[in-house]
Amino acid sequence: MKKSGYILLLLLVLLVPSGQVMAQASSESDEKEKVDVKDVIFSHIKDSYSWHLFSTNNRHFSIYLPVIVYSKEMGGWSAFSSRRLEHGAEYNGYHISETSGKVVYTNGEGTEVRPFDMSYTKVAMSLTINALLLLVIVLCCGRWYKRHNQPSDKVPGGFVGFFEYVVTMVSDDIIKPGVGPEYKRYEPYLLSVFFFIIMSNLLGLVPVFPAGANVTGNISITMFLALCTFIAVNVFGNKEYWKEILWPDVPVFLKCPLPLMPLIEFFGILTKPFALMVRLFANMMAGHVIILSLTCVIFVTAPMGAAINGSMTVVSILFMVFMNMMELLVAYIQAYVFTMLSSVFIGMSRPHGHIDKKE
């Protein structure tokens, strides 16, 4: 208790002068230098064509990623560096829209039209890095097992042991109870999903390059993952699964003249992956937004004087530490929940004598 009090005091002492400096700086500069919180947050959580690394006084250091667009009107494919579109510049007829922040071109009527855009954006690069990192980790662990392929060999220690612990934990706690007797077939897929999500979640919390991008808080990513589960459920679902959807075990009037129950069941097919998609997206995005907002509190309160700024900085940092801890937990929980629900949905798609047993 006493210790934490000292830490608080120290923080206050350290932070008040810096707040003063900031306040001075802000009062010296123009009023228009105000922090646009919304812009700061949205520029982080949204995708972008370049990866901003850091800024010094007047210079920004970014990685400019390739823009790859296709439009019939503009003469097919074109690919160029996003450096050419910096600060609203136009290149090959393309520019970055002020309103949407996407690459657009202006057609004959003067309206902005989006081309088919498959630029290698920040999220694309980040997910590539995450995926490759995951691949390296798993294959390195796999190599250990290849070298120690006798069952009488020692149990792995260190990182491989930790990884094995997590793998068996996911397998025994989530996949086996969720999927049921046929879990072996789906285990690699579900493990891959779990580790990809948790890797992306955790790397999203690290604020410096090459981590820090909002990958799992991007709806395209969660949509892809949900689609994978959708395919795993519906393509490999057995006969009884389809029977339960098309001709469920309910009174005939609920399904015969008007296919009420089949309709509901059919929507169930779609809502399950949709829920998966939105849950992961919303949770991860919200976490990023909260942490960024708390960071912005420091800069927003800078013009309000040293006392307010100093105390708010302390509060903001305390809350940020708390939120980061929370996000660590959420990173795990969301990966856990996604995998668990996926395995439950897969398990539901392969019922065994469920109907016969009931009757």
Partner: protein, 163 residues
């Protein structure tokens, strides 16, 4: 609002990057690990079972051992008992024999003593006879008139002889 709209470009990159990585992971990555873990699990199960068997066998051996030990103890007790009995018997026999022997020896000794006594008596008698003859001779030689004197003389003579 466009935050909620999926991007086709991102989906395509996701499909390429994550698709390839997932394919490798599903085909080789995770099965390698889970297979090893399963194998080890089976090995551990088998080892446990073996240990259980060995234990039960050991238990059987231990029981056998204790049975054997019990038997040996019993046998030892029997043998000891037999030996004690035998000893008793031998002792008894020996006692009997020694008793008989002793009796025999005593009897012999007694007989010998008797014989010797008889012999002694006989010799004494002979001696007495010779002595009496000698006394008589002397008495005869002397004047025999007084019977009391005779008697005294006889006694005196006997005393002399005996001494």
């Amino acid at each position: 609002m466009d935050l909620l709209l999926p991007e086709v470009g991102t989906l395509i990159w996701m499909l390429i990057a994550v698709g390839i990585v997932f394919f490798i992971l599903i085909k080789w990555g995770f099965p390698m690990i889970t297979k090893s873990v399963d194998q080890r699990k089976e090995y551990i199960d088998a080892s446990l079972e073996k240990a259980e068997q060995a234990n039960s066998r050991l238990e059987g051996i231990r029981q056998e051992c204790s049975e054997l030990l019990d038997q040996a103890r019993k046998e030892r007790a029997d043998i000891l008992q037999d030996a004690a009995k035998l000893r008793q018997e031998i002792l008894q026999n020996a006692q009997q024999e020694s008793k008989e022997q002793g009796e025999k020896i005593i009897a012999q000794a007694k007989a010998q003593i008797e014989q010797e006594r008889e012999e002694a008596i006989r010799s004494i008698r002979a001696e007495i006879a010779t002595l009496s003859v000698a006394v008589a001779q002397k008495l005869v030689e002397k004047d025999l008139d007084d019977t009391s004197e005779q008697k005294d003389l006889t006694n005196k003579l006997i005393d002399q002889i005996v001494r």
